[in-house]
Amino acid sequence: MANLFYINSLSFKPFYTFASTKQQGELSMELLCPAGNLASLKTALNAGADAVYLGLKDDTNARSFAGLNFTPDKLQEAAQFTHKQGRKLFLTINTFPKPGEESRWYQAVDLAANCGMDALIVADLSLLDYAHSRYPHIPLHLSVQASATNLGALSLYKEEFNIARAVLPRVLSMKQVRDLAKVSPVDLEVFAFGSLCIMAEGRCHLSSYVTGQSPNTGGSCSPAKHVRWQEQDQSRLTRLNEVLIDVSNVDEQMGYPVVCKGRYLTDAQDSPEYLLESPTSLNTLSLIPELAQAGIVSLKIEGRQRSPAYVEQVTRVWRRAIDTYLQDPQHFQCRSEWDSALAKVSEGQITTLGAYERNWQ
């Protein structure tokens, strides 16, 4: 497990200080893993995560699923456990405060400060404002839900709220990521692996159009209570709030049902097609060298809603891949056993480079 980055984290050097001074081409990359509960958090740290992100057990974050996430007590426990190991813990508060209920979001920021979070992942302007003015010492990471894809947007958030880092939406090609990293006034984090959101995050209303709830308003995309499977003969009908979004064979391996990954018809065709995207996962193992050379400071693994087994598998593979790269950047090659280990936990068991690859677009 010894590697360049680990030496840094074990010496308790704050990562954000390290990252903010990072020069183009300098080789280090944080592995940032998800945790929906303490078991996943411990698993992620054991498997080699440099930092873990999590959310509170309410609608202040965009993975508000039943049975997931952390109460204030558990958050405290998570922080102590993580800091004892010299790693980082980020609290995700990335939904948008509702009128008349803003205090719930402000309290989440206060709680994060009390628990000694290493960063806050925030999208809403008013919440960035609150966190920046009350707790200027806590680094702010601009959530992907803020949908900042360009120099102008990043500059505004930097000037106004002194954000330290931004999480890029999954809409940029590798070249565009590289171009942006050259001029970005803040550190950049990208999604490296997990469920593939194909729309500019934070500005997608497909879920609320069908179910009434979106990540922005209700804290989740395609809430489970609206999902219904029906089996008919050898077919499985997948419905979201009664809208038929797919018909599959009962043996077919399907991902979690979302509007953008359904099979639909156009006037010109008789057979249904995945008109937007098929059930695939993002996997950017092969892009590690390019992302490192572009100066990306953090690789994010998606999946706070996934099991500890998923977190373990994915974290282990990514730890190994990043270490392998850092030890010998010139000769890095993506190994097939890594890809196949990841494919086992991928949606639909198919992986893609998504928008990073221009041809996907």
């Binding site: 120099l151 194909i198 500019a200 209303h205 497909l206 069908v210």
Partner: protein, 284 residues
């Protein structure tokens, strides 16, 4: 309350666009949004063409706002945006925070389009401080949301309110061009295939329920929002503009009827769910 005409979200041939806005010039619509808000590859009209149209509409007595791209990915798009913001005459509709940043830096007033995330009074107030004069309510928000925001502001907002009242809603934007992909084309060699789908490409469920309209990188609602029955109520709440998002020439007629307080023909597939705190596709 007045009627506004949103930016044309589809890709039409230049002569059709020119004809459309000539007709708009002769309509009673007082406020017109103009510009490419979806895809920078659509170059039937150049920036100069839009400026000429804006001047023509201004001379016809319209208030004109230049709409900007909702999703900026390439440095060239950001540079184009700067040019738009710096046009020196017309205010802009910011559809991405980059446009807010540009307008703010130049001390220019701006309108926040529906794809700027304004979910509470504190955020709106912040944007107002940066120069926001009007905002279009994010599509998924409701009447009750608006009431709470107005109440929290003491009964009146210090900036104007616009509601997306009629048309197909732009629900999402992606890096992927769904239209090109459907036609078996790469985005970079798309042949501007969106020209062949002047109202987008209808996607239906396998039970023949119309669900989405694919409009290049934009995904729209297949259903047409119709909040015309709410106009009196909106007026009471203090909404300043009711936006008609154009689908075809008929949209000018619709805006005209609304201006005269006339009832509208019902859309084939109406929806109004968001306004009533329901799923957007629902019609109540």
């Amino acid at each position: 309350m007045k009627i506004s005409l949103g930016p044309l979200l589809y890709c039409w041939k230049k002569p059709q666009v020119m004809d459309f806005y000539q007709r708009v010039a002769h309509s009673p619509i007082p406020l017109v949004y103009l510009g490419e808000a979806v895809c920078s590859r659509r170059r039937e009209l150049k920036f100069g063409d839009y400026l000429a149209l804006a001047s023509m509409l201004k001379q016809a007595g319209k208030q004109v706002v230049l709409s900007t791209l909702a999703l900026l990915e390439a440095p060239s798009e950001y540079n184009e945006l700067k040019k738009q913001v710096e046009n020196g005459e017309f205010i802009i509709e910011a559809n991405d925070v980059a446009a807010v940043q540009q307008a703010k830096a130049l001390g220019l007033p701006f309108v926040c389009g529906p794809s700027i995330n304004n979910y509470n009074l504190a955020s709106l107030t912040r944007l107002h401080g940066w120069g926001m004069q009007r905002f279009v309510m994010p599509l998924e928000l409701s009447r009750s949301w608006l009431v709470k925001v107005i109440e929290a502001a003491g009964g009146k907002l210090p900036f104007e309110i616009e509601v997306f009242g009629h048309g197909h809603m732009p629900l999402a934007h992606s890096a992927r061009c769904f239209t090109a992909r459907h036609m078996g084309l790469h985005k970079d060699q798309c042949n501007i295939v969106c020209l062949s789908h002047p109202q987008g490409l209808l996607a239906q469920t396998q039970e023949a329920q119309p669900l989405l309209r694919l409009n290049g990188i934009q995904t729209q609602s297949a259903a047409c929002v119709d909040l015309s029955a709410e106009i009196a109520d909106m007026q009471g709440l203090g909404v300043d503009y009711f936006r008609v998002s154009p689908s075809d020439l008929g949209s000018i007629e619709i805006a005209g009827l609304l201006t005269q307080g006339q009832p509208l023909p019902k859309p084939e597939m109406p929806c109004n769910g968001y306004w009533h705190d329901a799923p957007g596709m629902v019609s109540r």
